[in-house]
């Protein structure tokens, strides 16, 4: 029972408290460059989720055999292997989306968030816990990407997942790739604001 609770906590932690995009401010490049539509955000989010979960499990599995001095290269190579897998799979089964995401799928290998989770969590915990931690982090990233994609697609093109929702384009500016900078900035500020309000109410109750 205790493990079940902590695993939900791990997932929630990745989604909110330590959201990789808005709180930890890691892996910003795709958040700015790719999140122009919900679909793009979703696909890259799923790719990262996959790589994160797989490499977390792999490292948790072999953590006892890794010499501490070569742990970082081991992490990098593990991630690179899984990224190659997802890269080949995506290019075979979703060639159109793969082309839209361009170089970013291959660049998952350099995303700081994955290495950081391996270093901070997976190399010290059991495979089950690492799975949920990786899942939470990946889900947090996916959530961030989809939220950004939602806001940008709705405001920029007036569509959602390609379907016309609003019938007009409120602010075409948000469809530009560079509007990602503004979007991420606003979302971070929103997260900060929620935290401030949350702490204030907690203080009042306490």
């Amino acid at each position: 029972m205790a493990t079940a609770k902590s695993s939900t906590q791990l997932v929630i932690n990745g989604l909110l408290n330590e959201n990789p995009i808005f709180r930890l401010a890691l892996s910003m490049c795709p958040a700015v460059g790719i999140s122009t539509t919900v679909m793009n955000g979703l696909l890259l989010g799923v790719a990262v989720l996959f790589v994160q979960v797989c490499s977390s499990c792999t490292i948790a599995l072999i953590k006892n055999f890794i010499h501490p001095r070569i742990r970082i290269p081991t992490y990098t190579l593990t991630i690179a292997t899984w990224v190659t897998v997802i890269d080949l799979v995506l290019s075979a089964y979703a060639p159109v989306a793969y082309k839209a995401m361009g170089i970013f799928v291959k660049l998952i290998v350099a995303f700081a968030i994955i290495t950081m989770r391996l270093e901070v969590f997976a190399c010290k915990n059991t495979i089950g816990k690492s799975f949920f931690d990786g899942f939470g982090m990946g889900l947090g990233f996916l959530f961030g990407m989809v939220t950004l994609g939602f806001v940008r697609e709705l405001l920029g093109l007036g569509t959602l997942l390609g379907h016309d929702v609003l019938g007009f384009r409120p602010l075409l500016f948000f469809a530009l790739p560079l509007a990602g900078f503004f979007c991420v900035g606003f979302m971070m500020a929103l997260y900060n604001y929620i935290e401030i309000v949350f702490n204030r109410t907690k203080k009042k109750i306490g």
């Binding site: 910003m28 490049c29 291959k106 790739p177 560079l178 503004f182 971070m188």
Partner: protein
Amino acid sequence: MGGMNHNKFPAFGIALLAILLLTAGCEPQSRFVKKTAFKGSHDIIITFAAPVDAAWATDTAHYRVYEKPDPDIRLEVASSSLSKNGHEVRLHFQEELNQDQPHMVTVKNIMSGGKSLGTTVVKVKKLYLSFLFSILIGAMLIQNFVFTKYLGLCVFFGTSQKKSTAVGMGITFTIVMVFSAMMSWALYQFVLKPYHLDYLQIIVFIGLVSLSVQAVDTVLRKVNPLLFKAFGVYLVLVIANCIIMAVPLILADNEYNAWESLMLSLGAGLGFLVALFLMSSVRERLELANVPRTYRGLPIAFVVAGLFALAFLGFSGMSIF
């Protein structure tokens, strides 16, 4: 120690330039076609080694022109004319030529002095040195990796708080960038591609990046401990930067040669340095500004970066030469 190092750089630069000029001069062409060049926005000039027959030269059916990346799209030659001495053929096109791409011209059945000299394919491209320069400036400003390709943001926001940190990071990054990009270029061209191991790209490149960071670390520690003290801390951060992975991948995709690769990696490094310097200048002033509490720190930095990106958008579509 420092003075000695400074003396070496100009000599090295001159040697580099000399090699560059040599390679630029040695472009392989057909034996009979001496020179090809773009002239104005609509014309291509082909210079032959000997006078060619006027009747042959003015028939546009003898030329087939396409841009190197798309061989299927044939460019229509509107008219062709021969210069007075019979050496130069000027091909005129209806449409404006995209001079950023090399053009391939098939010259059929060259007739000179009444006898046929066979068919040949020649490449027309901009002067090589200016092409290299345009790659450098392109990677640095027009397609700045930070502001127009949105790469390397984690390190960008992490190290742009102070000017001194920003410059240190930028310089370290440029050095490692050039070093690792050249290594991965060589490995890709001479090992991965001939043996059809393209799918190992990611693993090989990331391994090489870590290796070259380690190598620069070791060499710098021994050769110049003072410099190492100043820049050593940034070396670890280099690995976490997407740009260092992106450049080898772009090089592999575009099939650049050694000089083009050097220029692109140098441009990427310098572009990162420029972006860091600009950003840190603004962020130093932001420290003193009265920013709303929710926007303090990263959120306002993102908005500033967005404004910079808007400014850099002004460079887009610009072509040098």
